[in-house]
């Protein structure tokens, strides 16, 4: 068992400055301030820390992309956490806000930013209140604000609450949201590192990414890289949910076999059920099946398996569920969250939902599966941001991996709609490795 970010996580009062300091907190910040910026940047690069927000880009490299000029620079912490299945940042902010604040201060120092913001999703009011209290404490104690720790560095920190939009997790949409606009992604380039918030160079990192920073400074490159595996250093807080017995957040070494997380930690599906498929990195990751349970849980292994680690959120779907239901949920979610700025995403998500609904109503033919798969292909890679891909990739993977089930469903629903004889469901479900389960009727599925 590893506990870096989750050390003492359930200790009463860890969210206060006093307990955090007592547990060794705020020691990395002065240590970092005693280093030069470049030394801190080098440490971050060499630690191999990759972003925990989705894209998995090297945090140190991204921070070093910011121009070294003396223009106003910004650090923005992405705490929008709205992807289905993800709830790790919530835990980190609620239970140990100072860990994040310390990470932000070090990150801002390294990037040369004088202003930092935490963009937290509006629904996390409770966590935002905790963060604001912690920020006030940090100001009071001189860890934030004017001339932190009596150095010449000024770093302000403001908690900014969103108002309900998943797209604001996308980094450039987040910037627009923070500037008080509709959260629509911006064209890249220019990348935020050059032109971000208020047109200034901006470093954007996920909550968990920044929470790692004090530990990297504390442990040093050598100490930190003891954790994880080649290419995926450190630990990962994994949110496991869906059909598992012990849903929750688990901090694991990157590279831990997936089975150990899903079964060992989260207890696996309920008694008598099997894993039918799972999202390894939130609802935007292409699905994996029971066959993939032995893959090590790290960035590269997930990518090699055709999916991604993403935000590190595992959603398990057991064999009592129909893939169509999940596909429809996913598609409706992305249709609802598409900002509408670019054509393929706006129209493609809408069209996909309509096709899936038609399948559900029994008005589709197997040819529609072809069209649906084709539509996904025309979305992938052609959008302004990757929200469109985030629907198209899992939906595409579901069609690919569960084509038989979709086809069976089409036949069955058509027969049902026509009032003819309904084929036996169990005979039609053919998923490698998964036991066919009773097939819930989709007729009364809710929107």
């Amino acid at each position: 068992m590893t506990a870096l970010l989750f050390e003492n996580i359930d200790e009463e009062g860890l969210n206060t400055l006093e307990v955090y300091e007592r547990r060794g907190g705020y020691r990395s910040l002065p240590k970092a301030l005693a280093m030069t910026r470049d030394e801190v940047l080098d440490t971050l690069v060499e630690s191999g820390l990759r972003g925990r927000g989705g894209a998995g880009f090297s945090m140190g490299k991204k921070a070093s992309f910011l121009p070294k000029t003396d223009m106003e620079k910004y650090l923005v912490c992405n705490a929008d956490e709205s992807e289905p299945g993800a709830f790790k940042d919530r835990e980190l902010m609620q239970k140990n806000p100072h860990q994040l604040i310390e990470g932000i201060m070090i990150g801002a120092y390294a990037a040369g930013a004088n202003r930092a913001f935490i963009f937290i999703r509006g629904e996390y009011d409770f966590q935002a209140d905790i963060l604001e209290a912690a920020v006030a404490e940090a100001y009071e104690a001189g860890y934030a604000g004017e001339r932190i720790l009596d150095s010449e560095h000024t770093i302000t920190l403001v908690v900014h609450r969103g108002a309900g939009a998943y797209i604001c997790g996308e980094e450039t949409a987040l910037l627009d949201g923070l500037e008080g606009k509709r959260g629509s992604p911006r064209l890249k380039p220019p990348f935020p590192a050059n032109q971000g918030l208020y047109q200034g160079p901006t470093l954007i990192n996920n909550v968990e990414t920044l929470c790692n920073v004090p530990h990297i400074i504390r442990l040093g490159v050598e100490g930190f890289t003891k954790h994880g595996v080649e290419g995926s250093r450190g630990t990962k807080v994994v949110s496991v949910s869906g059909n598992v017995q012990r849903p929750g957040n688990y901090e694991v070494e990157l590279g831990t076999p997936s089975r150990n997380i899903i079964y060992g930690l989260a207890g696996g599906p309920p008694e008598g059920r099997e894993v039918k498929f799972w999202f390894p990195g939130g609802s935007s990751a292409p699905i994996l099946t029971g066959d993939d349970l032995d893959l090590p849980y790290d960035f590269d292994s997930m990518a090699k398996a055709g999916s991604m680690l993403g935000s590190g959120s595992i959603i398990v779907i057991d064999d009592s569920n129909a893939v169509l239901d999940v596909a429809l949920k996913v598609a409706k979610f992305y249709r609802h969250e598409s900002c509408g700025k670019c054509t393929p995403c706006r129209e493609g998500t809408n069209w996909t939902v309509k096709m899936l609904e038609r399948i559900e109503r029994g008005e589709a033919t197997p040819m529609d599966l072809e069209i649906m798969a084709g539509v996904q292909e025309r979305i992938i890679g052609n959008c302004l941001c990757v929200l469109g891909d985030s629907m198209a990739m899992p939906i595409g993977s579901m069609i690919k991996k569960f084509r038989d089930e979709f086809e069976a469903h089409i036949e069955r629903a058509r027969a049902e709609a026509d009032g003819g004889p309904v084929p036996e469901p169990s005979a039609l479900v053919g998923v490698a490795g998964a036991e066919p389960g009773p097939y819930p009727s989709t007729a009364d599925a809710e929107d």
Partner: protein
Amino acid sequence: MITLTIDGREIQAPENAMLVDGAKYGDVEIPYFCYEPKLGAPVGACRMCLVEVEGIPKLQTACSTGVKDGMVVHTQTARVRDAQEGVVEFLLINHPLDCPVCDKGGECPLQDITFGWGAGTSRFIEPKRHFVKPLELSPLIAIDRERCIVCYRCVRFSQEISEDYQLVLLERGANSFVGTFDGHPYVAPFSGNIIELCPVGALTSRAYRFRARPWEVEGGGSICTLCPAQCNVEFTVRDERVLRVLARDHEDVDDGWLCDKGRFAYQAIHVDERIVEPMVREGGELRAVGWDRALETAASALAGAAGKAAGLAGGETTNEEGFLLGRLLREGLRSPHLDSRAGTPLPLALRQALAAPALAATVPDLEFAHAVLVLDCEPVDDAPILDLRLRKGVRRNGMRLAIATGRPSTLDSNAEHSVRIAPGAGGALLAALDAALGSGGDLGALAAAAGLAVDEVRTLATLLSEAGEDVVILWGERLTDGPGGAHAARALLNVARRLGLHGPQGAGLLGIPAGANGRGLAEVGVLPDAGPGLQAVETAGRPAAGIAAGLADGELSTLYLLHADPLRTHPDRTLWERALEQATVIAHESTMTETVRRYATVVFPAESYAEKEGTVTHPDGRLQRLRPAIGNPGQVRSEWRVLAELAERIGHGLGVLTGEMATGQVVEAVPFYARLTLEDIGGRGVRWQERVAASAMPEGAPGPFDLEPLPAAPAANGALRLGTFRSIWAAKEVEISPSLKFLAARQRAELSPTDAERLGVEHGEPVEVVHDGASVHAIAAVRANLPAGTVFLEEATATEPVNILTDGEQRLVQVRRP
């Protein structure tokens, strides 16, 4: 130029072009919808322009990818074709199939791109969504939401170009739609531009809807003479009728935009109110008579008025018309009484100094200057298109904007520093500024005379002197048309010298005249004291106010009004009423103005700007050419021809047989226009300052500048200072164009909250503004940012004219509830 390869062919393209534009250099067309460089940085929304760039794994948007030397681009590979077909397919999912009844059909980018890059079939078999359509977006614009492809062009215009921020996208995702707040109409000075920007038929002109199909119309390029901005326009003509006005992109003039007056007031050309026959007053009534009778009546009146005739030329008068009027009066009738301005005349030497080529700023200078001072003018009202230029300068180029006006400006929020001066105190402000810049005058007293604190003037001075060398002062005629006009002009010249505006290319002065062709008319000699070329005349005549007085007391007898309407535009309405009552009035007009209806003895029908031939001079010195787009209606004849005939009939032929000959005479008479031809002017115009002949401009002299503070603006003690302004909508064309009517200026009294409270007046209530027995009825408009102590009324309204209260001097008025 750099070299890149597109589809296997090497092409040369300019260095900082985007791929979509660069590709055109190799005759490669990359389709796009949302890209429009006029709207600012690309947004990459429509995804139509995806291409493959070697070395980059993902397809790239050609609208936002700059060309690079050695770049290898593919626009025809299977991958690209598939992406393009995909985008067309997506866009057509919900686009209705109503091209046959769509105004855009035939000139529709979506139609063209579907034809060129679409697959020809759709796999979408769900029902298309349908909505009620078309809906009003404003009295001018209809919106068809089914057709919208959410390209963001219209909302970007509203948000980033005109910055009125009234038009936005509402909802999100597939539900996104273009709309306004809570059902308010999108009414703003530049709203019509979105019609031209929309790449589909979603936004259409309610005035143009279903009037014509693209293949039935012709386009005629000309100039809009409804205001001094003189935007370049293209008239859409069908069967000798102007059906639409489009922008004819000229980056040195209008940047490709039009205001709604310019876009919709063409309707005034074809209204029933238009005067199309010559008329003569008989038994108190104007009666249509043939040209011969009308000319004869006018000629004999003029012939009998030698030495006692006078002329006023309105702003839309062309250089040729103004010049010929001058010849008719000065040479034919030995009457030097001639004016094109309404205010107190400026000494000629000052006029010349202000017009010095070295001091002349251009329209693009407004955008690229380090700093611009907007002085005593409101660009959106006085020369609307310049408002957009200034916004662009601030937004894109970091131009630093300062404002010094009496009334709050719509540009205040873009300005780094705004000061509110007392009405008529522009000269005082300049004197104070001159002192702050180091003249040694008494800054405290001078600032007080302008109604300002010393610090406000200092900040302004610092901004202007430290911004950089390119500083432009954009000033309005209001600055110099009052009794303190000469003082203000000298102060302006002083400040310009102190800031070093003579030297740098991008620095200088840009004056907005009150009349559309105010600059041209002055330069061709429609001034009491100057002939063509701003040269002194032997005997100076009377200025406008003097003409009124002369007519009223019988020293003058006959008045020639060339597109002029003094009851509307000139101060001291009471005097003008008396003057017109006494005089024989010959009016050259296109509509039944009050002056014509009540006082004209002879009426000549005037051409509209779409019918005219000739030249006008832009405030920055650009001569521009008017070309007839349609024939003259009814019996309308060209003004130059009428003037020439009249001159003939009084025995002083002008030797003008064609419009071009008139231009020839102007060019010959104005030394700094020398040898210009209509061909030279062409479709883009020529700034005379950029030609060799510019050196023939007489060198003016500012004369001694007295830094003594002017008498402070009168203390209000219970009364209010009267400020006036002329709104963009105060124009006869607006009043008679069916679709613009609703905008026509109505008299309102703008009050500060403090004054309103003191007077017990509520917002929206009727009030009376009184001076010396005369009164104007208005609706009270309480505005928070208005300086206390002043009430503002609109000039040139159709009813409740403010010039009944004014005679050019500063006024104190009483405001009360009737």
